[in-house]
Symmetry: C2
Subunit: 405 residues, 2 copies
């Protein structure tokens, strides 16, 4: 939308080519021309630029039907590097990726006993980032930036300055400026909600790949959602779109949610709610995590009627919530993940899809598929690293030669 000059034009074509390369991993000039709707000549020019910049390289060739062999093109993995951080309830994980999204290194800092203090998280994050940078001093020159996935809504701050601010209500944090939370000297910083980061990872490289309209639901202790319309993640007016967990399904009559209201989706399908319902049937399980949920699912699978009923009700509510999304957004793909989702859904994917179909209108109901997240919860860092990658792709050519002269 901001293409005004012929220069922008070249920049945009460069972006198109680079983006296609990132998504396909390997291509040829001809394919690139077709995919980007550019002429062969332009592709040659752009690709040469990219090769000059050390971002792309030719990796051998394949024979053509009797003519000059086709040169295979790929990203030069070492051409750029990104840092991605997952700031979660359990701690801070920072990972280093190259241009091919290979994870080169990782640094983890466990969260202190209470996560109620953003300052501690902040130093842990700064520590981890510094450690990685010290371990790889040679990559400083190709380091694009640091993407951070945070446990809350990231939106423009209050007032006129409007600096990006984290609103992590569920952790009991006061609104915190992202700049205060994340200090990485000399590094461009990007921040977003962790669930959004994961959704973007699924959209680029995972189960939502190539979809133009999709929803990515993350079922865990809380319920997150990434909404994709027209190939792009929907952020809403001020960044908080995708708050699915406190969608009301019970019309004021459901169980009480930790947000204080009644009938929230999370109060039916959140991990705590599921296990609480199981306990209410007399089950002795007292845990709250993966192990407890696995016990529930195993019991249901083994024929325990009470456990089966709990799972059934969970699926029923989930299907209702999904059907509402299907009606509202007409997605072509529903992607489910999160540790609860990945434990609960795989064996019941078809049944869930059937229920969603029954609860939604005929047309949209016949146009979606349910997939499972390819990335698990610990890939927030990868998703976060896609923010600097996106920036790298969008960035106009940096002419280092000019400076040398």
């Amino acid at each position: 939308m901001t293409v005004a000059t012929t220069r922008d034009l070249r920049q945009q074509n460069r972006t198109k080519v680079l983006r296609t390369l990132v998504l396909s991993g390997e291509t040829t000039r001809a394919t690139l021309a077709a995919d980007c709707e550019l002429s062969a000549a332009t592709v040659t020019n752009v690709v040469n630029e990219l090769i000059d910049d050390g971002v792309v390289e030719e990796i051998g060739s394949v024979p053509s039907d009797g003519g000059r062999p086709i040169a295979r093109l790929a990203l030069r993995a070492a051409g750029a590097h990104m840092l991605g951080a997952d700031v979660g309830e359990r701690g801070v994980a920072v990972e280093l990726f190259d241009l091919s999204m290979n994870r080169l290194d990782r640094e983890f800092r466990e969260a202190p006993a209470s996560t109620a203090d953003p300052a501690q998280i902040s130093t842990a994050l700064a520590d981890a980032v510094a450690a990685l940078r010290e371990r790889h001093p040679d990559l400083e020159s190709t380091l694009v930036g640091l993407g951070v996935g945070l446990p809350g809504v990231v939106g423009p701050g209050h007032g006129s300055a409007a600096v990006p601010t984290l609103y992590a209500q569920s952790l009991g944090w006061a609104p915190t400026s992202v700049a205060d939370l994340v200090s990485a000297p000399g590094l461009e910083v990007f921040a977003d909600n962790g669930a959004n980061a994961l959704a973007v990872a699924e959209l680029w490289f995972g189960a939502a790949r190539g979809a133009s309209d999709a929803v990515v639901g993350l079922l865990g202790r809380g319920i997150g959602l990434g909404v994709v319309c027209d190939g792009r993640l929907v952020r809403g007016a001020l960044g908080s779109a995708g708050e699915w967990g406190h969608t009301k399904l019970g019309l004021g009559n459901g169980p009480v949610c930790r947000c204080g209201a009644r009938g929230c989706l999370e109060a039916y399908v959140g991990a705590h709610a599921i296990l609480e319902r199981w306990r209410a049937t007399g089950a002795s399980e007292t845990g709250e995590g993966w192990r407890a949920l696995s016990a529930l699912v195993a019991a249901a699978d083994a024929g325990d009627a009470a456990a089966a009923a709990v799972v059934d009700e969970t699926l029923d509510v989930l299907a209702t919530a999904l059907a509402n999304l299907v009606n509202l957004l007409n997605p072509e793909r529903i992607v489910l993940g999160g540790w609860v989702g990945l434990r609960l859904v795989p064996a019941r994917r078809e049944e869930l899809a059937d229920r969603v179909r029954r609860l939604s209108l005929d047309r949209p109901g016949s146009q979606f598929t349910i997939e499972l997240c390819r990335f698990e919860g610990d890939s927030v860092a990868l998703g976060a690293a896609l923010m600097p990658l996106q920036a790298f792709i969008d960035r106009p050519r940096v002419r280092e030669r000019a400076a040398v002269r």
Copy 2:
């Protein structure tokens, strides 16, 4: 996204300028340059082109601070004309608009007793269009196209051909190819759902104007919704996005909807459902339309406890459904219309907003306003006419001169 050549560039800049002109009605070259982020020189070039094409004209000037006066620019209303049709349950209305969206003429055909036959609607539509064209033969050369708002989902058809097809399940019609339904020789035809058309009208010229994230709810016999993300109407994978009416709120426990399911929003907030609830309290009203609803609202206002309770419950469910949208999409504006909405909401707008705020999360809940549709239900034709207008704006320059030589 399809800007590849320098020519596309000019085309796109022309579109930007034209679009801005349509939205602002009147501007100056300097303002245009600022709004479109173009240089003054480019604006001059593009505007000259548009003036040559008879689409734009200078309309006098305003004095500047001591210098050359500023030329005022406006669309030349007679530069292009569009037809918009509203195909509804009551009949077919076709309207003729000029480039300034003045309605120049109108033709109405009442629906035959049973609307169960698409063929009759089809001939009525063709008749009305033909009548208008015969009455204005001089406008043929500037007639851009015909936009049709239809009572159902318009999406790509089944199979490989994928011609646009109307799915009007609620009218009991079998899927009908739009081309079969709308025949207008020599005229480009555009079709969409009527509610979508109205939402676009609100987005361009009405209460949703300028919003980048908004929802437009139409409350009538059925419940429609237009979802706007990033300034564009969301259509979903296959065109059926915005089916809000059969969103489930009651978790299987609510009243039975005409779609057969339980707990649909429409079964609480649809006109029939509201009046039915009133009748259940012993009210003697037997109507189903505007008059009956007005009686209900008047009774509630007059202190009738039963009527007030019915209205209250309606508002409550509506607020819940809206709060879910607020959480999910973080809109900056909620626009409500439809004959039920326009009767029910105006006097209770603040109360409704309060309820929505209480039922949604703090952040998104504090970021929206509720507005009323500026266009009433009979403006579907106007919204429909915006489809050819859009096409006209997006269309590259038509060089008639070249053909003359």
